[in-house]
Structures are given as C-alpha cells and as structure tokens.
C-alpha cells in the first residue's frame, strides 16, 4: 500500500495540558505526516474556523480535565457539523478524561483513553490495524549465576570456610538417612516420562513406601491422601485445562525492569490450591514477574516422603506432589524462572530430584537455617543437605541459600556465617549457590537501632559485607522489606517498591517480593494484591533507572563490623568438634537469639 501523507490538526481543548498532543505530533511527523498544533484552550468556534481554512484529514482534540468535558466537546462537534466539515475530516478525541463510549456518544469518529500509545494513534491515522510491539516485551530466562567465579575475596574467611567444608565432608562420610535413600530411589527408579503417561511401577511404590512415614505409606500402598487434603476431581482438572488453554492463548508477558541489569523479580505462591496458584502465576507473569517460588506446607517438611495426586487444601502452602508440580510447570510461560524450595525439612534431597526431573530452574538449600529455625535436626539436615547439593549439581539447579533465621532473632553476621558455609560447601561440590541476605526490619535491628533513621544503611551494609567476602550472585529476600509492611496496601506496596529500588541501586541479581497482603494474616493472598506490588516495583525501577541511592557513612562501618564478626564466628565453628556440634552449641544462632536446633528426623542418621 502506497504511503499517503496526512494532514492532522492537533487541538488541546484544555486550559493547559497539551503534552500528550506534542508527543503525538512528534510521532506523526516522524512517520512523515503534516501536523498543525494549535495553542491551548481556543474556543470551539475558532477551532472550527481554522478547520475551514486548513482542510485537515483528521482533527485530534485532547481534553485532560474531566469536569464539564461532555458539554465542551459536544458543542465543538455540533459546530463542526453545522459548518459542513464532517465529510472530509475525521474528528478524534483523546485524553485522560476520555472513554471510547463517551467519544461515540458525543459524535466523534474515535476516542482514545488513558494509556494510548503514540504508535496506536499513528496506526489510526494511516488506517491500519495497530500491532502492539510484542517484541519489546519478549523475555528470556536468565541464569542468575552467570558471570560469577565464586572466588573468595577475603583470604582469611576463605581459608576458614575451606577448612570447615573439608571437616563437614569428612564428618559426612559413610552416613545415610531415609531422605537420602528416597532421593536416590527417586533419582534412579522414577521415570518422569512414564509418570506423565500415568505409569508408576509397583516396585517403585513399594520400595518408596518402606522409606516413608505412615501418611505417605498409606498413599503409596492404598492410594489414600493426606487427611488435610482432597483430590481435584476429573471435572475440575478438565476445567483447569480449558482455563489454562484460553488464558495462555492471550498471554503476553511484561517487564518490570526499566533498564538492563535491574534485578529479576520473583513472587512466591502457595495458596494451598495449585489451581489458584496457577491463576495467580498467570496474573503475575502478565504483570512482569520473572520468576515464581513454590511454597509448600510446613507439615510437608516434617513428614518422611511425598504423597501424590492433584491435591488441594485450605491451608498455607501448596502440597508438593509430582502431579501438582507438573501442572504448575505446564502453566508457566517459557520465560518464567521456577524455583521449588528444598531447604528445610526431611525431604530436602528428594525435593531437589523431583524439581530437577520436573523442569525447575532453581531450588533452595540451607542447612543452618533448616536446622536452627525450621525444625529439622542439625545432623539429619547436614547429611541430607550435602546430598541435596550433589543432586542440585546433577540436575544443574542453582540454589539460593536463605537466611530467614534472622527473623527468629539471629543476628545477620551469624546467619551469614551459616549461609557462607553452605555456599562454600556448594562451591566445593561444583554447585552454583546464590546468597540470599534478608532485606528486613529484623529483631536484631529493632533492638540494636540500626534502622532508626532509615532502611537503607543496614541493608546496604549486608550487600557490601558479602561482596567483600565472595564473588557470588545475590538475591535479597524473602520477601524484601519483611516486617516493614502493614495491612494498608499503599504503604505495603510503597515499602516493597522502595526496597526493590534499593536492591536495584545495589545492583543485586534478583529479589523476591511480597504482595500488598504481606502483613494480613486473616486469609490467603489475593490476585489484586499481587498486582499492586508488581506495579509498585515497576514504578520504583522506572523512577531510579540507572540512578543510585547513597547510604550514609554508617553503612560502610556496619559492613566492616559485619565482616569482622563473620570471621570471628567462622573461627569458632572451625574450632568446634564438628559443624553439627557447632549448630547444636548455638555458634550460628543460639537459643537466646531465637534459634533452636530442630528435632525433626533426630536419630535417623545411620552409618552405611
């Protein structure tokens, strides 16, 4: 089709606002069209008079203010009609106050409301359908660990970590647990393709059942599900499939990042129902989430073995079963990173295997946190954690090393010492660990006063301290701003956004964000609340761009102190009879600090 140059009269029918029209003028002129922009707020009679002289193809009226808009626009259209100018000229209205219905009602040929792009207007002028720039929103999965060498930058701490890791691996030699046996059985004898075809061997089920607690045993031998759960019916599953097909057909993912290099953004799901999880995940993908994290119920971590089935329940956390995970994986857009947490319980190693076989991108492992703040026996989680790291290497799953024991009251330097030990263990075994410091208003700072003035300095100190110790990726969480959020959605979204902006300014690799329901404990998170924080984070990224946030001088002082304290803790751990004894003795978090060595799986570690 030959290009036809159009003449467009741009009319700000408004006392002051003509910015939108100036942007449109630039777009139209770049596309080769002729434009004439009138001064703001001319009376309708004068505009119609100019139309009679200039003979434009299109007249584009902009009107921002809503009050009395109908009356003014209606008079303009009546005058244009009366002057006989409608045959050769198209009348268009746009602006914040405009809705297409209103435009039609007033006699305009078209109306553009809030959010209209310049490209959309140019397409209208040229009489062609508008094609949104889908390529602009194209996303790729990113390897968060790419580019990191895991070199120790702090020689003395590096040496201590090397010694501790050697001691841990020596201590671990010859030890076994039911969790390790299940992970190896799942690894060797559970074929994911056969599972997808509905075939699971009787031999596997029986061998697996022998390694489980009674509830999973009942499932694998008699098909009974956990009493707190129910199976989704065939009809529900068929409806989900239908819903998913329709939703996927109209999905386009967006980006929250404004400039290259801003952190990847993860949301956490676990409503209890995988169907609702999928619905939320699709919303979050559409609003720009780069990754999603599976939250399982706490009883899952305290039970030896997994059950199966497409299961739902009405408690926090969605049950890990092969079926549930498979459905969630099937629902994800190709660009979405998927993390299945393995970090804290009796199924840590097997979770990594299951996640790996079902196509997860990331997992989560931390022996210190799981032992001190999540209820698992230190010895058990040490042997299972080592196995989990080995499986993470086998299935090429990077894992974050979370430090949520800080929320129990463990000071950051002790939590970081535990995180660095697990990171060094991963480094030795060939894994790709990711440091996960908290960005939180933790008990330590509530008491110590480090956040009396601002939330910047202590969080910045954490990043600075860790960066001075090791060259490793950083993924603050989980979620950022923990304990700064209230039930008010504006406050909650705002504090999440500011913490995200801080994370971007500190150039970390990823963040986990809350919904604006973070502080609400009366029921599950809702979809609208997820949208709130994604929108807020996008605005935070947009506002700061490549700009930086300047911490005060406290940050560097606290970072230096933190490094010294981490070194002191690691010296004590290195001198302890073993890492496990160090955990029991409270060197990485004591009972006074809210850390209690867990009892789950105590006495289940045996010599081969």
């Amino acid at each position: 089709m030959a290009f036809e140059r159009r003449k467009i009269l741009l009319v700000p029918l408004d006392p002051v606002h003509d910015i939108g029209l100036k942007m449109i003028r630039r777009g139209l002129e770049q596309a080769g069209h002729q434009t004439l922009l009138l001064p703001p707020d001319l009376p309708p009679e004068e505009i119609v008079s100019i139309m009679g002289k200039e003979h434009p193809d299109h007249v584009m009226i902009s009107r921002t203010l809503g009050y009395g808009v109908g009356e003014v626009l209606g008079r303009f259209v009546d005058l244009a009609d009366a002057a006989g100018l409608r045959d050769k000229t198209t009348l268009v209205v746009g602006g914040m106050a405009v809705r297409p219905e209103l435009a039609a009602e007033l006699g305009f040929d078209a109306g553009f409301g809030p959010g209209t792009s310049v490209e959309e207007v140019v397409a209208f002028v040229e009489g062609r359908p508008y094609q949104p720039d889908l390529a602009g929103a194209k996303k790729q999965k990113k390897d968060i660990t790419a580019g990191y060498a895991y070199d120790f930058r702090h020689g003395a701490i590096g040496n201590l970590l090397e010694k501790i890791v050697t001691d841990i691996l020596t201590w671990d030699e010859g030890k076994i647990s039911p969790g390790i046996l299940r992970s190896r059985l799942r690894d060797e004898s559970w074929d994911v393709e056969s599972f997808r075809q509905g075939k699971v061997s009787r031999e596997f089920s029986e061998a697996y059942a022998q390694l489980c607690d009674p509830v999973p045993q009942a499932f694998h031998r008699k098909g009974e599900v956990h009493p707190k759960t129910r199976r989704q019916t065939d009809q529900e599953i068929a409806r989900l499939e239908d819903y998913l097909t329709k939703t996927k057909s109209r999905m386009s993912v967006s980006k929250v990042q404004h400039v290259e290099g801003q952190p990847k953004v993860f949301i956490q799901y676990g409503t209890g129902c995988p169907f609702m999880d999928i619905a939320h995940i699709k919303v979050c993908e559409a609003w720009g989430a780069d990754g999603v994290v599976h939250f399982d119920p706490s009883w899952g971590a305290r039970t030896e073995g997994f059950i199966g089935g497409f299961l739902t329940h009405q408690e926090d956390g969605s049950v890990i079963t092969p079926e549930n995970l498979s459905w969630i994986k099937a629902a994800l857009e190709p660009s979405t990173l998927w993390q299945v947490r393995a970090h804290r319980g009796l199924n840590t190693a097997e979770t990594v295997v299951l996640a790996g076989k079902l196509g997860a991108d990331l997992t989560k492992i931390n022996i210190a946190y799981g032992s001190l703040a999540a209820g698992t026996d230190p010895a058990r989680l040490t042997v299972d954690g080592i196995e989990a790291i080995r499986m993470a290497v086998k299935y090429k799953l990077p894992f974050d090393v979370v430090t949520n024991e800080e929320l129990a009251g463990v000071p950051a330097h002790k939590a970081f010492a535990g995180m660095l030990i697990v990171t060094a263990l991963g480094r030795r075994l060939g894994a790709r660990p990711i440091l996960q410091p908290l960005f939180s208003y933790s008990p330590e700072v509530m008491i110590g006063g480090q956040m009396i003035d601002n939330y910047i300095d202590f969080n910045a100190a954490k990043i600075e301290a860790l960066r001075s110790i090791i060259d490793a990726p950083l993924w603050p969480g989980a979620p950022i701003g923990f304990l700064t959020q209230t039930e008010d959605r504006v406050q909650s979204s705002m504090t999440t956004s500011l913490h995200a902006a801080l994370a971007a300014a500190l150039r970390v690799d990823a963040i986990s964000i809350a919904s604006s329901d973070e502080a609400y404990s009366g029921g599950p998170i809702i979809a609208a609340s997820r949208v709130d924080t994604l929108q807020a984070v996008a605005e935070g990224f947009r506002f700061f761009g490549e700009g930086r946030i300047a911490p005060t001088s406290h940050a560097q002082r606290w970072a230096d102190e933190m490094v010294d304290k981490i070194e002191a803790v690691l010296k004590e751990v290195a001198q302890a009879p073993s890492f496990v004894e160090a955990l029991y003795a409270g060197l990485l978090g004591s009972k006074e600090e809210g850390a209690y060595p867990g009892r789950g799986g105590r006495g289940t570690v045996t010599e081969k």
């Binding site: 109209r250 699709k282 919303v283 559409a286 809702i526």
Partner: protein
Amino acid sequence: MVAQGVLSRIMDALDLETFLVCSSEEEGKELAIRLMKSLGFQDVDLVFIRFGGPGARIRVRAYIYRPGQDYAWVRQIDDGEKRG
C-alpha cells in the same frame, strides 16, 4: 437516590478494587460497571483498568454524594452528638 444506613456515612464515594477474570479490556469494563450496578449503585464509573492475559485489575467507583448534594452524614453526626 438518597443514601441510607451505613452507605449514608460514606463521605463521598465507594471504590471497589479487584481482579476480574475476562478476555479483553472491553469485557473487563463492562463487567466492572455491571458488578456495581448489580450491587444497587447507579452513579458508577470505572476509575482504573489494566488488562493482561488472565484478566483485568480494576478500580470501580460508586458516588454516594456528588459535591453540592445533601450529605446525610452531616445530620447523622449532629443527631449522634445530640443523643450523646
């Protein structure tokens, strides 16, 4: 419509925010307005909508009082003070 009961205590308008499952922005708009009308509100407007794959984040408003109307909450507060 004269606001009655608790509605009369709303200073000016009631906003409803949610996420609607729908297949287009147009459908989302129509559903949002229909939702408010089904709740008995007549003076309604869609304040905000953003559509993405699964549906639309909306903020839809029902004006209880427009400026210049007879605000029942003035009388009710007075009545309450007198009773007190």
